[in-house]
Subunit: 415 residues, 2 copies
């Protein structure tokens, strides 16, 4: 007998028929003798509808100027979406004769910080739920929500139901957290780019973290961090084809055969800014990145060339494409303090990354990447590396070509 | 400075524009220096949508047989409707610079019994809310819901938001409970039947109770009972024309001029059953009404004729028209025990009532009713009376005629 947490996203519970299908999957786990807690998102589209209402009503009457709704009220309104799904799934389970009840964030309770809209889970008190699970009752938990100090409803931010599920699995000391979604696992790269991409049986937490934050939108980054910290095995499965087996996100030690590279990730939403002839002296980085931080711009890769004359150098960095205008404005405002000669930007760039924990033990992995791209005539604009990742910035037009070439170069192509 | 509770029903908060209008009405009370708690229903249509989902998903898969959803889950799902409105109104109030926060049933808390779907309020703990009101913050309370033992969400049944509002007013010791709805008060009779109907300035709790239970659908009966017990003055006002003034539902002592008859109520949803030649002996009433009670039939008026020979008599009673078939079946099953000779029923009957606390002090009020109906050639089939009410059963076709004639006879016609 195992204790498992199953999580179903918005598309998996988009209508009553799909909720019935989820009930079937849950029943199967129960009939295998497992104790089951289920975490659900809102029905697809509901959260966006509620957010739209909140934003609309927050406007001052008679003027059509965007306004930010009070975060506590916003949370209380949008948390209702998961409340509905949780109740409906509990009813659907009872209809197929599975003992079940719903749990809202405040009922568990799932205690969070007071940062409404993107609260963090502080504590989950699992005693009452554990008692119910022990009696064979399925716990259907409203994802994405918790209770903040002062007994206010809080939400965890976009994709927060993944985090709810992993945190619950940790609190319940579950054997596994199964994340049911609309893809059947984590792939070596985006299957839309190459048909040779294949599903990974296992992926290490660290690798998944890099993949999640680099644009493979399977799991929310925070949920992977939490799984890693609490050592919760997470499995990504398809709601519509669970028999495919999915991908297990687990501890590095549980992966026997470690390839140098596990997967190729990419993200198109990049922009590059280069400051030409910046004074090469202490304090200049602060003069540039201070104003950017103040403007809420997330700087990613940074490269500074060697200065030829010891006095002036060029400095390049990347930002999310959506933040490019804001970034340029901040830099231009700070021009007197920075003292650059010229400013150029490029919104047509993309980032391609190779990821693999095996990299640590295999020298020359990066070299293969550079050689492969060079052979295809792709110019690398910026490079950044970590222990288990090498990322390069390239012109956006070459993304597919680069990903396919790297996929082959690292022997990831499916047989 | 007064402390007031304002309640807005589903049509008053049906969309964002109407919620903005409600915010305006609330702001007006706040700017008069009042402490304000607002109770809201779900947006019109939302509750029915959620109920539909619950009923649909409660069916066993593959069969289209109606099934009753688990009442606790049902409550948790449908309570989400008021949660959304409460949050949206709080945001709308903040947008017009009125300090405000929403309160869900469990947050107040509004403690109820565990009879999910039609729970009764046991206790409201107003301390925290009072502290907020004292600081000039408007409390926006989700109506219709509470928290049952075991920390489960409960609902109060159809129209329960009226009860929420009155109970809250009692707990807060509010000076008045204003019920905003789509009519501008309580009328002497249904204005669709006679244009001479006029709005009552005041009506006593006892009268309102009779009117509510007799088909004047302005206030939910339980809310009137609760107002009467706790002596909460309730005012019925139009959301869309509050300047009209509304009707105050209050203590009998607060009404100076007491007419013999205050209003004429009617209900068409009646059916009549007559058992002919029933044995006139002890125990026969129990033999008839026991099985009806077991079948869940609500018997209203009962008349037993004087028996001519001391052995057999005729017995007539009325039931809601929707329960007629069930009632007939129950009686036929019990035929051997009852021993009647024949059974006749009539679904084309209606009940017309005159109501007035002044009746107690004015003899001959009923006689005016009988005479008026006789003059119009309307046959009275059954009569039942209470201290402040006389009801008669008549053929349904004569309802409008009877109401108009009585309205004139009791000097209720507007000038």
């Amino acid at each position: 007998m195992s204790k498992i947490v199953m999580k179903f996203g918005g598309t998996s519970v988009a209508d009553l028929e799909r909720i019935r299908n989820v009930a079937k999957l849950v029943k199967r786990e129960v009939s295998r003798g497992n104790q089951v807690a289920v975490v659900v998102s809102a029905m697809a589209g509901e959260t966006n509808k509620l957010i739209g209402w909140c934003n609309e009503i927050a406007k001052a009457p008679g003027v059509n100027v965007p306004a930010i709704p009070d975060a506590r009220e916003y949370d209380s309104v949008i948390a209702s979406g998961e409340q509905v799904t949780a109740g409906l799934l509990a009813i659907a389970l009872l209809a197929v004769e599975v003992k079940s009840r719903s749990w809202l964030g405040w009922q568990v309770p799932i205690k969070t910080t007071a940062i409404h809209g993107s609260a963090r889970i502080i504590d989950i008190v699992p005693d009452e739920m554990n008692a119910c699970l022990a009696q064979g009752e399925v716990a259907v938990v409203a994802g994405f929500q918790g209770v903040a100090p002062g007994n206010r409803v809080s939400t965890l931010g976009r994709g927060g139901s993944d985090t709810s599920a992993v945190a619950l699995a940790a609190a319940l000391k579950a054997d596994i957290c199964d994340i049911y979604t609309d893809v059947d696992g984590v792939y070596t790269t985006d299957p839309r780019i190459t048909s040779r991409a294949h599903r990974l049986e296992k992926v290490a937490y660290e690798e998944m973290l890099e993949m999640a934050s680099l644009g493979a939108k399977v799991l929310q980054t925070r949920s992977v961090e939490m799984a890693m910290v609490h050592r919760v095995p997470v499995r990504v499965l398809s709601t519509f084809a669970p028999e495919n087996g999915g991908t297990l996100v687990c501890d590095e030690e549980d992966i026997v055969e470690k390839n140098p590279v596990t997967g190729i990730a990419y993200t198109r939403d990049e922009a590059k800014i280069t400051l030409l002839r910046v004074p090469d002296q202490p304090g200049v980085a602060a003069a540039i990145f201070g104003p950017l931080a103040d403007a809420g711009v997330n700087v990613d890769m940074i490269v500074q060339n060697i200065s030829e004359d010891g006095r002036r150098t060029d400095l390049t960095f990347t930002v999310p494409r959506a933040e490019l205008d804001r970034a340029l404005e901040a830099v231009r405002k700070a021009a007197p303090q920075i003292g650059y000669k010229d400013l150029i930007s490029d919104a047509k760039v993309a980032k391609v990354s190779i990821i693999g924990i095996g990299m640590r033990a295999h020298p020359g992995v990066a070299q293969t990447m550079f050689k492969t791209l060079a052979e295809k005539g792709i110019n690398i604009q910026v490079i950044s590396t970590s222990e288990i990742k090498v990322s390069v910035l390239i012109p956006e037009d070459y993304v597919e070509l680069a990903v396919r070439a790297l996929h082959s170069a690292y022997d990831l192509d499916a047989a």
